[in-house]
Symmetry: C3
Subunit: 106 residues, 3 copies
């Protein structure tokens, strides 16, 4: 496992996502955040739902994950937002150094 | 490694993807499935191909992976569909509990 | 950790991405490469940037990662391109064999 991770969450739309994204970046909890248009399928309160959403990929350092999760739970409008982190096993030296720098470790 | 994973596969289009997606969710083999429009590049039978496809991200529990893989291979129209699983090293407590619940473990 | 991984990088647009993608596939450094339209948010030289970009997912064998990283750094127009690799913990037997074959190991 490395020191770096990619955190995934989703929002209803860009308007809902972007204030949270800006807040996370300004608080140095991520180096880069990417938005992707998706269609989500899931069962919520016994009903099969099909919604357009925005998937957000947050590239960060694992050391800040607890604070990032806390900030997401604080700012997120969903009752139970998706928050998952995937290990970034490897990366180019310069890019990882940039993540360090952008998340207050550089 | 955690108990949770994200399984990736692809389909030609939404029409092809959605019956399989609904089947997986109804069989409690995933909590949430996300569709993303992509362009794929690969060599197939010595020819460099460039196709519009749908990438599907399946958020689930690793314990059901063998059954999920079997179901995907059974239902998938491709000869050799992409089926990869990535470890979800961390996640928010409530979201992981929701995955447990949606995949028959709650 | 498995022998397989998914490498992520980004480009400004498809026109910039596709010559690099073709080069990587022809050099057997990846089995399949997927392009996704995204919106990126990050701070660059003290300015909060919001750019349309292309996220590229490169499905490959970890053994070729050093060469793949070298090739990306050689061909990529960015000063510090994102290059991260995520472990593909599991996959269907046939698909993993196909990755082996496409990356010169089959």
């Amino acid at each position: 496992m490395s020191k770096y991770g990619i955190v995934l969450t989703t929002f209803e739309n860009e308007k809902q996502a972007e204030p949270v994204i800006n807040e996370i970046i300004k608080n140095k909890l991520a180096a880069c955040i990417q938005e992707i248009k998706i269609k989500s399928h899931y069962i919520w309160k016994d009903e099969l739902c099909h919604d357009d959403e925005i998937l957000v990929l947050i590239k960060t350092r694992k050391e800040v994950y607890p604070e990032l999760e806390k900030k997401l739970l604080e700012l997120h409008p969903y009752e139970t937002p998706e928050i998952l982190m995937v290990d970034a096993e490897k990366g180019s030296k310069a890019y990882l150094a940039w993540i360090d720098e952008q998340t207050g470790k550089g």
